[in-house]
């Protein structure tokens, strides 16, 4: 059965190769950083929790010092133009093979018996990446060394941001264990007088967006705000519909996701991937949409949640 273990082995090996590339280029901090990440991928299940925690802290220290990678060798603009002319639209084939194979795998793999049914999408995505690579390597006439270098070039342009989403998920776990949710919902419930049904709706939708902004994840905010405000007030006290409340409440949380650096993989990582100078560049263009949509969601819930 191919499951998460095999995928982690693959990812770990890839990052170990990037680290080796940095060793050969003599950029030691980058080598150590990606090396630590490779160890958590390859050995995370076998190491103690404390050892994994220390590796995470080591990565944070290295990132704070600055990774300073030496640039990986690549093709210059002239070579890329010439290659684009030679290959034409065939270049899109491997890129479009990624979604096509992911899609096909999602439907076909569950019944194959080779793949852990719970992880089908992730396995399909990994398979798609491998097939696309097999198509692309002969096409651009690249060997394994060039392939590792090109991957390293991209991961260097993303930098420490590549690790941030995983670390933020871990922070969410620590916050939850520390009892953060209970404290926040108590404050929200005591600070605002909930005498009118519409006030409960406004507090709930804005609370979902703000708390999602703090946690970086609507999934973490939903149980807290719904147990603190949604169920006792909107449903319990004022007799609202739990389906409309939950569905629109979750989507109000997603508005918060658009506005926060804590949702790193949607906001900070893309800014790095697209070589933006401003790490908050993506957030800035999303804020107006988020605010308008939050208002629209609040109106939607206020209009329909109390009419069954």
């Amino acid at each position: 059965m191919i499951g998460l273990g095999a995928l982690y082995g693959l990812i770990g090996t890839m990052f170990a190769a990037f680290a080796l590339g940095h060793v050969l280029a003599r950029s030691w901090r980058s080598a150590a950083f990606w090396g630590c990440f490779a160890v958590t991928m390859l050995g995370g299940s076998y190491l103690s929790d404390t050892a994994n925690g220390l590796l995470v802290i080591a990565m944070a220290v290295l990132a704070t010092m600055g990774l300073k990678p030496k640039p990986a060798p690549t093709a210059d603009a002239k070579m890329r133009e010439a290659s684009a002319k030679r290959l034409g639209n065939a270049l899109f084939l491997p890129a479009l093979a990624i979604p096509a194979i992911t899609l096909a795998g999602t439907f076909l793999l569950p019944h194959s018996g080779f793949v852990d049914p719970k992880q089908v999408t992730l396995v399909a995505l990994a398979l798609a990446a491998i097939v696309a690579l097999a198509l692309a390597m002969p096409m651009v006439r690249a060997g394994p060394g060039t392939t590792v270098n090109e991957g390293r070039r991209l991961v260097d342009s993303i930098g420490w941001a590549a690790v941030l989403p995983q670390l933020l998920a871990a922070l969410g776990g620590v916050f939850a264990a520390a009892g953060m949710g209970k404290v926040v919902s108590e404050i929200a419930a005591t600070a605002i007088p909930m005498t009118l049904p519409v006030v409960a709706v406004v507090t709930y939708t804005i609370g979902m967006a703000v708390f999602t902004g703090i946690m970086g994840n609507a999934f973490a905010a939903f149980p807290v705000m719904t147990a603190g405000i949604g169920l006792p007030l909107i449903v319990g006290k004022f007799g609202g519909d739990p389906v409309i409340m939950s569905a629109v409440g979750m989507l109000s949380g997603f508005c918060g996701t658009l506005t926060t650096p804590m949702a790193a993989n949607f906001n900070i990582v893309p800014a790095a991937i697209l070589d933006l100078k401003d790490p908050n560049g993506v957030i800035k263009v999303q804020i107006p949409t988020a605010v308008l949509l939050l208002i629209a969601n609040t109106v939607l819930m206020a209009l329909f949640v109390y009419h069954r």
Binding site: V56, A126, A142, V174, I214, F222, I244, T257
Partner: protein
């Protein structure tokens, strides 16, 4: 109450523009210690949760192939292609991508887009090239075009996926309500995600269209 100091560390750290990895580790340590945990227990919890969330890193497996295709000139080719399509503007390219991303997400196909595999090699270069057809882009405007391309991906997937019945957030809502004695079907929940999905598309597509007009006005001046 002291556990809130963890949030304080996050807000302060981001405001002071310290390295986010450092800020997050510091926030976890502060929140854990404030809640009365021992230092080694907090470090162990951080390590455990980091390793438990490794599945997030699967997306990085596409890096080598995207790197190779860039070496092969995929961004240059995407530009050439869009430059030949007369009707293509930056706004139209991104509105089309927003629609495709949202429609596929409503079918549960959230893995079909993404910033590494679609936005960087294809959508952003196409939008840039379409904008450049009329006049050269200065650096600030180029950044805006790229940022809007990323936003189209985010808005599309966020407000499409909840229309699909078997997505994580719908199952989370169902499970949470069930724990509290309220039984609902996923279909009821996803039906109520449709109005927001339509409003999200209307709002963001309008903003992309307005951005397109601003790009066009820039060419005249």
């Amino acid at each position: 109450m002291w556990v809130l100091s963890g949030i304080g560390v996050v807000v302060l750290g981001f405001a002071l523009r310290l390295n986010p990895l450092f800020v997050v580790v510091a926030a976890a340590l502060v929140a854990g210690l404030a809640a009365g945990m021992h230092l080694d227990a907090v470090v162990a919890m951080l390590g455990h949760d980091f390793v438990a969330n490794r599945f997030i890193a699967v997306a990085w497996l596409v890096l080598p192939v995207i790197g190779l295709l860039e070496r092969g000139g995929i961004r240059e080719r995407a530009r050439t292609l869009i430059a030949r399509v007369h009707a293509a503007t930056a706004g139209r390219v991104m509105i089309l991508y927003l629609a495709l991303r949202q429609i596929t997400a409503t079918l549960g196909l959230t893995a079909l887009g993404g910033h590494v595999q679609m936005v960087r090699p294809l959508i952003a270069p196409m939008a840039e090239a379409a904008a450049e057809k009329e006049a050269p882009l200065d650096d600030a405007t180029r950044e805006k075009v790229r940022a809007y391309a990323a936003s189209a991906d985010n808005v599309g997937v966020f407000f499409g996926e909840d229309v699909f019945v078997a997505i994580g957030s719908i199952l989370l809502i169902k499970g949470f309500l069930e724990q509290n004695g309220i039984v609902v079907t996923p279909l009821q929940l996803s039906v109520w995600a449709i109005p927001t999905a339509l409003m999200a598309f209307a709002i963001h597509a309008t903003r992309l269209w307005l951005f397109d007009r601003r790009l066009h006005a820039r060419d005249k001046s």
